[in-house]
Each structure stands twice: as structure tokens, then as C-alpha cells.
């Protein structure tokens, strides 16, 4: 589903954000992508989702060549960014219809698909609400709906549960697991939470200094003894927990803000 070879991005000014990433993701896998801040995690994700043009290497994503056919890639993937993509003022249902139609669906079909996906994510009846009136967990599930409305075969999730309360996190995990089980969806996710990586992902990649430094199932990486935390610390020399974006209270903190977007990850690596 994803195959990259030497995928790299050099930013003007000579900073190497990503030196060369080689990874393969099979159809139907849930893959976790971990790394300290500035390691090239978000830059890699933005390249794979066509938001950043790679400066070196090759990649095939969802059956299309990333460099030669970015529109082909866009048709087949869904992407949920860290901060989400919901404006505060317009009804989310209207935005979802526009989003679906930009994938070529006619209005009737778009409405049908939107209805299906909202039903499946327990969001029916909230279509007319503006983004600002949704709870943190609802917002995140709407973000998921935007990423899924066109029936992609591959879904990218950037820090999907950052800032959510434990219940909403568990709920989102359930939805992701079910989508994989029922529709064979492939999921590529970045996360700051090792428990999330441990429970949700079949396989993990750890990136540091712009290259993949470790790969394997959570069990393989742990080697039967330590925790993922120890593994991460010994590989990168840093604890993943120290790297939480500033202002993020972490899991377990009450979500009283209505899920306002956290610090956007777009600055990473620039």
C-alpha cells in the first residue's frame, strides 16, 4: 500500500528534514510512525499525503506514483491532520458534502455517502452544527468522516487522539479497528502516546534524524522485557513523553476546550 525508497526532503537553506526514508506498508495493516519532535515525522507524512513535494527518492502510495501522479494518490487516500480541518462557523454537514463532491461525487451520491459515514461514526444528527459547537471527541470523529467519506483504501492519521479525554481516545481507537476489520482499511498513524502505538498498531516504525532507525511489531521491539518507553529511549536517546507539543495536557486531562486545534505540526522540520 505504501512503498518508499530513499524518500527525502531538503528544505531551502540546506536543512535536511528527511534524509532518506525506506518503508513498506502492506494492505490492511495499522502502522504506527513514532519519533521525537523534529525527527522528520510530520515532514514524511506530508510528503506521503502529497502536501510536500519530495526532493529525492521514490514512493508508491495506494497504487500511484507519488511524484508522477499526486492526484491519483489523492483520490485513493484519506488524511486527518493533527489540528483537524473543521472551521468554526459553517455547518459541518455542508462542509462534508463539499468535501465529498470534490472527489467527483454527484450531490445525491455525496449525501448518501455522508449519511453512511456519519451513521457509522455515531455522528448522525450533528450535521447542521457549526464546527465550533462540537465537543472535542465529536470534532475528531468528524475529522475522521472527512478522511473517509470518499472510501479511501489508505488513511493517514496525524496524532489522532492528542488532546482527547481517555474515553474519546478509546472510542476513536474502536472506530479505527472496526474500519480495518470491516473494510480492510490500511492505516498509517503518527502518535506521541506509546500506549496508543502499543494497542492500536500492528507494526511500528521509529524515525530519528530523518531516517528510520527501528521497525517491527510492538512485541518484537520490546523483546519480551522492557516497555516501548525504554525501547524508544534507548534508540533515540529521548523519551517520547518529553516531546509532547507544548500546551498539550496529555491523555487523561479533562477536555474542557471543546477540542480546539493544538499547535499545528506544520512548523516541524522547517
Amino acid at each position: 500500500m505504501i512503498k518508499t525508497s530513499g524518500l527525502s526532503k531538503t528544505f531551502p537553506g540546506g536543512v535536511d528534514a528527511v534524509l532518506g526514508v525506506d518503508l513498506t506498508v502492506e494492505a490492511g495493516e495499522i502502522v504506527g510512525f513514532l519519533g521525537p519532535n523534529g525527527a522528520g515525522k510530520t515532514t514524511t507524512m506530508r510528503m506521503l499525503t502529497t502536501l510536500l513535494r519530495p526532493t529525492g527518492g521514490t514512493a508508491t502510495v495506494a497504487g500511484h506514483d507519488l511524484l508522477a501522479d499526486p492526484r491519483g494518490v489523492r483520490r485513493r487516500i484519506g488524511y486527518v491532520s493533527q489540528g483537524g480541518g473543521i472551521g468554526p462557523a459553517t455547518p459541518v454537514g455542508d462542509e462534508l458534502l463539499l468535501h465529498a463532491m470534490l472527489y467527483g461525487m454527484r450531490p445525491g451520491r455525496a449525501r448518501e455517502r455522508a449519511g453512511e459515514i456519519l451513521e457509522r461514526l455515531d455522528l448522525s444528527g450533528l450535521e447542521s452544527k457549526p464546527g465550533g459547537a462540537l465537543s472535542g471527541g465529536q470534532r475528531r470523529r468528524f475529522d475522521l468522516a472527512f478522511g473517509l467519506v470518499h472510501g479511501p483504501s489508505l488513511l493517514f492519521l496525524d496524532e489522532p487522539t492528542t488532546g482527547l479525554d481517555p474515553q474519546s481516545r478509546a472510542n476513536l481507537w474502536d472506530h479505527v479497528r472496526r474500519l480495518r476489520a470491516e473494510e480492510g482499511l490500511t492505516v498509517f498513524l503518527t502518535t506521541h502516546y506509546l500506549d496508543e502505538a502499543d494497542t492500536l498498531a500492528d507494526r511500528l516504525f521509529i524515525i530519528d534524524h530523518g531516517a528510520i532507525v527501528a521497525e517491527g511489531t510492538p512485541a518484537e521491539l520490546k523483546g519480551g522485557t522492557g516497555t516501548l518507553d525504554d525501547v524508544f529511549l534507548s534508540i533515540t536517546g529521548r523519551s517520547l513523553r518529553e516531546d509532547r507539543p507544548t500546551g498539550d495536557p496529555g491523555p487523561g486531562a479533562p477536555d474542557g476546550t471543546g477540542g480546539g486545534p493544538v499547535a499545528r505540526a506544520a512548523d516541524e522540520g522547517r
Binding site: G78, T90, H99
Partner: protein, 247 residues
């Protein structure tokens, strides 16, 4: 050919979506036209004692274009910040459609505002030539496209904090130099020369001719040419900025 069809379709979808929002919320339309309307009502009767309504109303049309459409980039700043823009950029929609749909919708807003000003102008006793007024609305559409595209490009470049102060200050000299309140033919030489370096003067003088019923003049030709060149240029710049990575 199917590429062009896709672009037109996507542009149309984005245009309808944005226009529906504008029409539902209405604040954008009313807010933008308040200031020129105040000039029309509170300054117009005064101006009419020395000049004509047919001179003033075209000036206020340029004013509303700059004040209202010039600030159209505000919307894209919010969409960039809330992640909406990035979400749309991952769809297969052509980027030019995402920009153009938005820009055309701003242009419709300007058209409604222009009609409001012209209608009140007539009510105050303006005697403008109707075909000239209709031709003016076409020019206003071009002006709206230019200003909205440019405003979006600037907004994406300078970010949300700087946009409002820079633009609300930047449009003032452009309004004054267009001769919106008094024709530039009355200005001293240096001011007249400065004014000739700005595009809006040409469009404004063409509109004044059109309002008077003089349509076959060099001034009208110049105004139309400037409006056409300006919209082509601004859409090109806007698309380029919009296409750029990380924009």
C-alpha cells in the same frame, strides 16, 4: 479537455458552497458596504452641491471594491489556520479551482454591494445611463476577481496577524489616488502623476464616462483594458501562491 471540464466543475462546486455561506451569513455583505453607504448618505448631498451624483457614485464603487473585496483574504487566513485549506488540498480538486471558486464568490458579494450603492444613488437623484450602469457591473466583476485573488495571495503570504493592519492601511491611498472623492483632473501635477501609476484611476474614469452615457471613449477602452489585464495578472499571481508548497 476532461482536465478543463474537471477544473470548471470543481470551481463551480467551490463557488456555490462559498456563495451559499456568504448569502446565509449576510454580515460580510453588509459590513463591507457600510462605509461607502455612509459616504453616500452623509457626504453625497454635500458633494452634490458642487458636483454630481454621477461623479460620486462611481468613486464609492471603487471604494467598496477596495474596502470590501480587498479584505477578502481574511477568509482564507481563517481557513488556513483552522486546517480547512489543508484538508481541501488533499482532495483531488485542482488548486486553481479552490482559489477561483472562492474568488468568484467574493466577486458576487461585490456585485450585490455595487447594486445596493447604485440603487441608493438613484434614490438620491443620480441620473446614470442604464446600459452604462450594466456595463459597470461587468467591470466591477473583473475588479472583484482581481482584488479577491490578490487579497488571498497577500493573506497567504503575510499571515493573519499582519493582514488586517497592512490591508486596511494599504487600501486607503489606493482609494484616494483613484480619485474616488474628487476627480484627479483637479489635482496638482505630482498628485495627478502618482494617481496615473495606480490601476484604479483608469477603471474609475471609465465608469464615470459610462454613467454619463459616453461609452465610445478612449477612457472607457483604457479602463476596460486595465481591468482585464489586472484580473489576468492577479489570478496568475494568486494561483502561483496558492500552488506553492506550504502556502
Amino acid at each position: 479537455m476532461s482536465e478543463v471540464k474537471d477544473i470548471l466543475r470543481d470551481t463551480w462546486i467551490v463557488f456555490l458552497h462559498n456563495t451559499r455561506i456568504v448569502l446565509q451569513q449576510r454580515v460580510g455583505i453588509v459590513f463591507g458596504v457600510v462605509q461607502p453607504m455612509l459616504y453616500l448618505v452623509l457626504f453625497g448631498p454635500l458633494f452634490a452641491t458642487i458636483g454630481t451624483w454621477e461623479t460620486l457614485v462611481p468613486g464609492l464603487l471603487i471604494q467598496v471594491a477596495l474596502l470590501s473585496t480587498g479584505l477578502a483574504g481574511f477568509g482564507i487566513v481563517f481557513d488556513a489556520r483552522s486546517g480547512v485549506l489543508e484538508r481541501l488540498r488533499v482532495t483531488p480538486a485542482h488548486r486553481v479551482s479552490l482559489l477561483l471558486g472562492r474568488v468568484l464568490s467574493s466577486s458576487v458579494t461585490l456585485l450585490i454591494q455595487s447594486v445596493m450603492l447604485i440603487a441608493v444613488g438613484y434614490a438620491f437623484g443620480m441620473r446614470a445611463w442604464l446600459p452604462g450602469v450594466l456595463a459597470t457591473l461587468v467591470l466591477m466583476t473583473l475588479l472583484g476577481v482581481s482584488l479577491a485573488a490578490l487579497s488571498n495571495a497577500i493573506a497567504l503570504n503575510i499571515g493573519p496577524e499582519m493582514f488586517a493592519p497592512v490591508m486596511s492601511t494599504g487600501v486607503v491611498p489606493l482609494i484616494l489616488l483613484s480619485g474616488a472623492f474628487l476627480p484627479m483632473s483637479m489635482a496638482p501635477g505630482w498628485l495627478d502623476a502618482l494617481s496615473r501609476a495606480t490601476p484604479f484611476r483608469y477603471v474609475l474614469e471609465a465608469v464615470r464616462d459610462l454613467f454619463r452615457g459616453e461609452y465610445a471613449t478612449g477612457t472607457v477602452v483604457a479602463g476596460v483594458a486595465v481591468a482585464l489585464v489586472m484580473s489576468a495578472l492577479c489570478v496568475t499571481v494568486g494561483t502561483r501562491v496558492f500552488n506553492r508548497e506550504n502556502a
